[in-house]
Amino acid sequence: MLEVKDLKKHYYSGLFQIKVNKAVDGVSFRIEKGKTLGLVGKSGCGKSTLGRTVLRLLEPTEGSIIFDGKDISGLKGHSLKYLGTRMQIIFQNPESCLNPKMKVYDIIAEPLRLHRLCAKDKELERIKELIEIVSLNEELLFRYPKELSGGQLQRVAIARILSMKPELIVADEPTSMLDPLVQAQILSLLKGLQIKFKISFLFISHDIKVVEWMSDEIAFMEKGKIVNFKTVSR
């Protein structure tokens, strides 16, 4: 499904753009369809950067990203657009990952409208369907994100992504800001979705126990490089 070869991402900074921060420095791995690769490492070792580069939200400095048999590392402009529906990301901080000026309904409907995934008159139906999947209450649809709790927000974020039927989801510490009870809810939701929709996950966390529970294989990262792989036996 996804294969990453020798991926590098360097940040340049300073007045003359000469300081280099090798956030991701030559990383290779693969993820099969419907499987989860866990990614653990210390804070600042480059996990988030890797996740975003894989999605092409950041320009890779070097290396290739092969998604569904196609190298997407060099794609530009319009041809990138189709990736939009197929690969998605969930963020760590539920409070900042939703536009505070949009109502929940519009947040979920946004991808549908942007990619014309659904006829205008079927929109409401589809959204109801989606929030049912993530077990949210319908009455929340017309609230603003500020009026929702962390767990609910994360569910909204998931519902929004599900509307595109993605094949790969990068989950960047999706539960680290949540309480244990809510974390449990979200993790089981994600697991359920994976089984139901055959979604591949790149699951990032620094909590090894969570990653162990979620993943089929775990990659350990240190200073921009993957130092070890471990298969989880069940």
Binding site: R52, L57, K81, G84, F91, S96, N99, P100, L114, R143
Partner: protein, 296 residues
């Protein structure tokens, strides 16, 4: 039980309503809004409200005190001060709104682009902003108005040319911090056009400070414009403008101080109202420190 329902209602009060509620609790802000409304009314219906033609001179009725015919007396040409003050709202509000509209649109778009695009464009624009802001306060406007020659257009132009950087800088700062927020990243993951992200996700989130700033700026612009007129570089007599009315009242300061006091008072109250309104807006849009909101 009924109390419980009321409280639940309050809970379900969404952010917008809460803002309104906070605004409503701020009496000074309400006063501000009310006064602005009155000014707008005066400006719109000046011909119907004012008892006399603000231009017509009655040389035999110069420098009168308040009387039946002239509620606030007459000026050195026997023109009705009251009518002139009322017509003055048109000019002041007009300049304020025009300049703020122009600068906020231009400044916001530039700041938005600059903050979002980054790179060389951003660098150049921000240096440009720095340069504009390196001219203190009203000095650049003074120079431009002086070069263009006096008049309504040149006041509007000179203030517009000098006030836009304030917005550009504010908006750019907002955009830079918004850009780091995950929801923008999330929107980017949908791969829409940059324009879409700016319009849909970034712009709405930086509107609140822009609105507050715009309200404050109206106050500033009104002061600046009347200062220009006061110096003789802005609106020229006989057009009734508060700043120039104030100036032409100076020779009569000893004997008819109200010729200076009334237009000055109008400027102050107007600016006052806009400042209050901005304060109220800022508080109700939650841009205060926690404590200040709780204090209210």
């Amino acid at each position: 039980m009924s109390e419980n329902i009321k409280m639940t209602e309050k809970l379900s009060m969404n952010e917008k309503k809460l803002s309104l509620w906070r605004f409503g609790k701020n009496r000074l802000a309400l006063f501000g809004i009310l006064f602005i409304a009155i000014l707008c009314f005066l400006a719109l219906f000046a011909p119907y409200i004012s008892p006399n033609d603000p231009f017509v001179q009655k040389l035999d009725k110069r420098l009168l005190g308040p009387c039946h015919e002239f509620p606030l007396g007459t000026d050195e040409f026997g023109r009705c001060t009251f009518s002139r003050v009322i017509y003055g709202t048109r000019i002041s509000l007009g300049i304020g709104i025009l300049v703020v509209a122009a600068t906020s649109i231009a400044g916001t778009s530039l700041g938005l682009l600059s903050g979002y695009k980054g790179g060389l464009f951003d660098e150049i624009l921000m240096r440009g902003v720095d340069v504009m802001l390196a001219f203190p306060n009203i000095i650049l406007a003074l120079m431009i108005a002086g070069l263009l020659g006096p008049g309504f257009l040149s006041v509007v132009l000179s203030l517009s040319l000098t006030q836009w950087p304030v917005y550009a800088r504010l908006v750019r700062g907002q955009v830079l911090s918004l850009k780091k927020r995950d929801f923008v990243e999330a929107a980017r993951a949908l791969r829409p056009s940059n324009f879409y992200i700016m319009r849909k996700h970034i712009l709405p989130n930086c509107m609140e400070p822009v609105i507050v700033l715009g309200t404050l700026e109206i106050a500033h612009v009104i002061i600046f414009a009347s200062a220009l007129s006061f110096l003789g570089l802005g609106i020229q007599p006989p057009t009734p403008e508060w700043g120039s009315m104030l100036k032409s009242g100076i020779p009569y300061l000893r004997t008819y101080p109200h010729l200076c006091f009334i237009p000055g008072l109008m400027i102050m109250l107007t600016v006052f109202a806009f400042n209050f309104a901005a304060d109220g807006l800022r508080a109700s849009l939650g841009q205060y420190t926690k404590q200040e909101v709780l204090d209210r």
